[in-house]
Each structure stands twice: as C-alpha cells, then as structure tokens.
Symmetry: C2
Subunit: 311 residues, 2 copies
C-alpha cells in the first residue's frame, strides 16, 4: 500500500463521510503534560470511524458484485457502518450478528436497510455463517478489520488529523482488530514528519502487544474488557503493517480505561465509548515520555448505552 | 436595553470567551420533525454560558471598584464563571456558596483563584452573607441572573446563533433565574427575522410560567427538579423583558427532561447537564407546532457529575 492509495481512498470516501472536528482542552493538556489534539470520530456518521473503511471497501466492489450485495460479520460498529455504506450506493448488505447482540444495535442495522443473519455468539460460528451467506447469495465478503481497503479507509482519520496538525510527534490509537491502527500507521508513515504511532490496548485483550513481542500473531487469552470494540483478533493483513510502522503498544488496566473515559466526558464534554478512552489511558500511563510534545489521540467512536455506564 | 448595547457587549466579551459550535443531527431532526440547530454552550469556558454575563459585568466595574473586588452568591455555574471572569482581568472575587455545595464545585472556584465564603443552604442566608461581604470588603455585588449586564452577556449566545443561522423561526431556551432567556429574547427581538423565543421550564420549578400567567413575579412552590440550574428565582429586571419578548413558556415533566438528556447524549454525542435538556424537552412536548420549522435550541452547559446520572 502506497501513499497514492491513501490519497485515492481519501478522495473516494470524502463525499460520503464527515470531516470530524479536532478538539483540545487546556485542562487535559495540564493533566497529560502534553499538547493533545483529539480527533473526534464519535461525531462521524454511525458514531464511529468504521464508516471510513466500510465506504472505501463498498465503493470498490465490482458492478457485477454490487448486484449480489456485500456481507460481513460484526456485533459492533462495523455492522452499522457496512449497512450504511452499502445503503449509500444502493447495494444490499447482509450482516452476520450474534443472536445475543443488543436489540438497539440490531435496530440500527435494520434502520440502514441491511438484512441481519443471526449466528451463535462465538468467532467460529460467525465466520462459518458469513461464509454460508457468501456462498448462498454470492455476496462479497468484507472483513471488519483485516482487509486492505478497510485499513486504507480507517487511515483517513489520521490523514485528516495530520492535515489539521502537521506537527504531531505522536499519534495514539486504540488497538482492536488492527484496522484503525494499521491505517493510522500508514498515514503517519506517508504523511507525518517523523510522527510515531503508539497503540493503546487493554491488558484484558492484549493480542497485538504479545504478537509484537513474539513476532507472530497471538490470540487473546481473555477478552474481559469494558472496551468492547477491542476484543477482536489481529489479522494477517494488518499485523505486518503494525510490526513495521507502529512504534509500540502500551497496555492499560480496566480502571485506567474508566478514568480516561471519565476525563473525556467531564473535560471535553463529549460522549465517547470505552474503546476510545484506551488511547488516552495509554498516553496517561506513560505521560512522562510525551511531556510538552504535540500528541494526536484518535477517539474512535461514541456508541454507548448511557443507561449502563462504568462510573 | 437597545440593539447597540448588545453589540457593544459582544465586542467587549468576545476576546474572553469561546465562539461555541452549532451542531445538527439528522436523527434529532427526524425525532422532532423540525430542523434543529443546537448552540453548544457546554463547550463554553467553564462549561456553561454563564461566563458571558459574568465577563460582561466584570469588565464594566469601575477602576476604583476593581481594586476592591466583586462578589456573588451561587452554588452553580455562575460561581465558576465569575471566578474565572474576575481572574481574567486580575480582580479579586468572593463567591458565597452553601456549605453543602459539592467539593468538586468548590475546588473549581478555588482553582480560578476566588475566595469562597460559606453560608447556610437557603436563599435568605446567601443574600445576607453576600451583603455582609459587600459591606466588609467593599466588593461590588453582581447578581447571577437579575442584572442588566449579565442579561446582555447571556444574550450573546443567541446573537451568535442568529449570525450562524439567520433564518431561525424559533429559539428554545431553558428558564432558570431568567438571565439566559432574557438575553436570548433581546437578541431575537433585535437581530431575528420575526424569531420567536420559547422557554422550557420544569413543572417542579415553574415560577416563570406562573409569573407570565399572573403578570407578577411568583415564587417556586417546589424546586425538586433534576435541572439544578433552573431552581432559582425569576427577578425584577429580567421578568419585564421576558413578559415583553418571550412568546411562551412550556413546562416539562422530569421524565421528559431525562428522555431529552439521553437523546442529546446518545445522538449528538455530547455531554450536557439536565438544565440544557429542558429546552429540547419543551420542543419535543409540543413538536407538532414546530414541524418543518428552523428551530434553535440553546444547550446551556455541560457540568455534570457523570458518576451520578439519572439513566
């Protein structure tokens, strides 16, 4: 993937997405000791960055494939993102979701005109059901994170951030399936001025941290984290990008995620989901290293049930 | 108060305040049936619109008075606002606060360099203690809402909103002490194109609603509302403005405030306090009247303890 691919991606998806604001806070600068620029993807369409990658992938499906639709498996933000992306260009979307997914998420996906196909709540079942839908309908499968076009799409958030703040020394991103941090790392590599990308990952789902240590893709031993968007598994397309272009991954405790979440809500006055707070939690954990530096933090999304908060 | 007074106020305070963003949401337009423009004073300095009025008042204190300081009584957002406003121009501020005010609010006021004077938690005690401070120190008393300069300052939020959206047919504002809605009404009168101002008020603190009915200032029988910023009493300076320039006041139930609060958090992805949600709750209660109209809603502030939410 080259510089030109990222620029082409940006040009392709810009008409379909929001350019999200970059917020700052005097108090959060004081608390972190750095100059922090928050890229607010909670204000993105569908409430998360995922629409960027979904849109980029859907727009490149062949005309023939478009008549047969697209399919993915996701219980989270990619489900809504692919549903809206497909709807935007009149393509049918099949979303494989665990049968125990919250009704509000199912309603959102249906609201974007997609068809939900239920599966048992485990990774093997969802892949199997998605493959079945692909076979039966001829729909084109788009993986939520381990896909070149998805990774490039997610990278446009950091690209916009670097356009707004070219002097960033670091960009912090949460690490889940690896799509966002992979794209962020490409954007920083091609468009930053020696901008280093740092990942934030929960101790409770630290497959990426351990994969960087061992040099091969490791699985999560536990996924018992509040950051539900980060419970997913690293993939073979984004892992090499992360290995090459991510400076390091900082793991954080659940209580650090909650504290960072609260800071963002109370100080920035915006609603973000726990996965977003992981990036700030990582910065806070090692804040001495980033003192007085210009630091970007990608706030990945804002989809949270406010009736069920960890405070 | 004339058009020129409001323009002079805007010029005076603009260097000291944020120009807050105006947000829209496709989903909230669908839910209300109107085209809604939210003026986001939760992003204002100190987290609420109050800094506008405080700044305008402090900047007009005479040089002689400045050496002796300013004093107000407030357990809420005006306490922090006057503290910061005074600090901005190197003036001493005394803030009379109830002894049972939350520690986090006291800390914020001290953080802005003001001196807290404690009083018993009732309206008579706070006025008495404020008068005492005024007498002993020679500090200049600034009322949180019933003050011409404060009203003009609060009106600049609606003035900015009308600059951004000149075609608004209605502006909804919460009604507490009457400073915000009084200023909003003046701004709409002088700068709107037949823009009507509607107040939202909790049934639990409906002094303004009943005052408009009776034609004289009524007191709150109860103040048992979640909208803690709206428990205060209408005054004799803002009431005549409200009588003349506010089209009507719509009262809302507590459950409607909570539902509107949740909509703002989950749909706009921003943190606002319950008092802010009262304006949207009023619009939702009578939404048939405003169908397809351009409607402004002033979100007054975002200071809330996220560990103690009504969801």
């Amino acid at each position: 993937m080259q510089k030109e691919d990222l620029l082409a991606t940006q040009a392709r998806i810009t008409p379909f997405i929001h350019r999200t604001p970059v917020l700052t806070s005097r108090l959060l600068n004081e608390i972190t000791g750095a100059q922090v620029f928050f890229k607010c993807e909670n204000f993105q369409r569908t409430g998360a960055f995922k629409i960027r990658g979904a849109m980029n992938a859907v727009l490149q499906v062949t005309e023939d494939q478009k008549t047969r639709g697209v399919v993915t498996h996701s219980s989270g933000n990619f489900a809504q993102a692919l549903a809206l992306a497909a709807q935007s260009i009149g393509v049918k979307a099949y979303i494989v979701m665990p049968e125990n997914a919250p009704q509000v998420k199912k309603d959102a996906v249906c609201g974007y005109g997609a068809e939900i196909v239920e599966c048992a709540s485990n990774p093997i079942a969802r892949e199997k059901v998605a493959a079945q839908v692909e076979k039966e309908t001829g729909a084109f499968f788009i993986h939520p994170s381990n896909d070149k076009d998805v990774i490039l799409g997610q990278g446009t958030a950091a690209l916009e951030l670097l356009e707004d703040q070219p002097g960033l020394r670091y960009i912090f991103s949460p690490v889940g399936g690896g799509g966002l941090i992979g794209g962020t790392a490409l954007a920083a590599h091609f468009f930053g001025k020696d901008t280093k990308v740092i990942g934030g990952e929960p101790f409770e789902a630290d497959d990426a941290y351990r994969s960087l240590l061992s040099g091969q893709i490791e699985s999560n031993d536990t996924t018992n984290t509040l950051a539900d968007g980060l419970r997913t598994q690293l993939g073979d397309i984004n892992f090499p990008i992360i290995r090459q272009h991510v400076a390091k991954i900082i793991r954080v405790e659940e209580k650090e995620i909650i504290a960072a979440l609260r800071l963002i809500w109370e100080r920035l006055k915006i609603v973000v989901e726990p996965s977003s707070a992981v990036a700030l939690a990582a910065l806070l954990r090692n804040k001495e290293e980033y003192a007085s530096q210009k630091v970007g933090v990608i706030l990945s999304g804002g989809n949270i049930d406010v009736g069920n908060l960890p405070f």
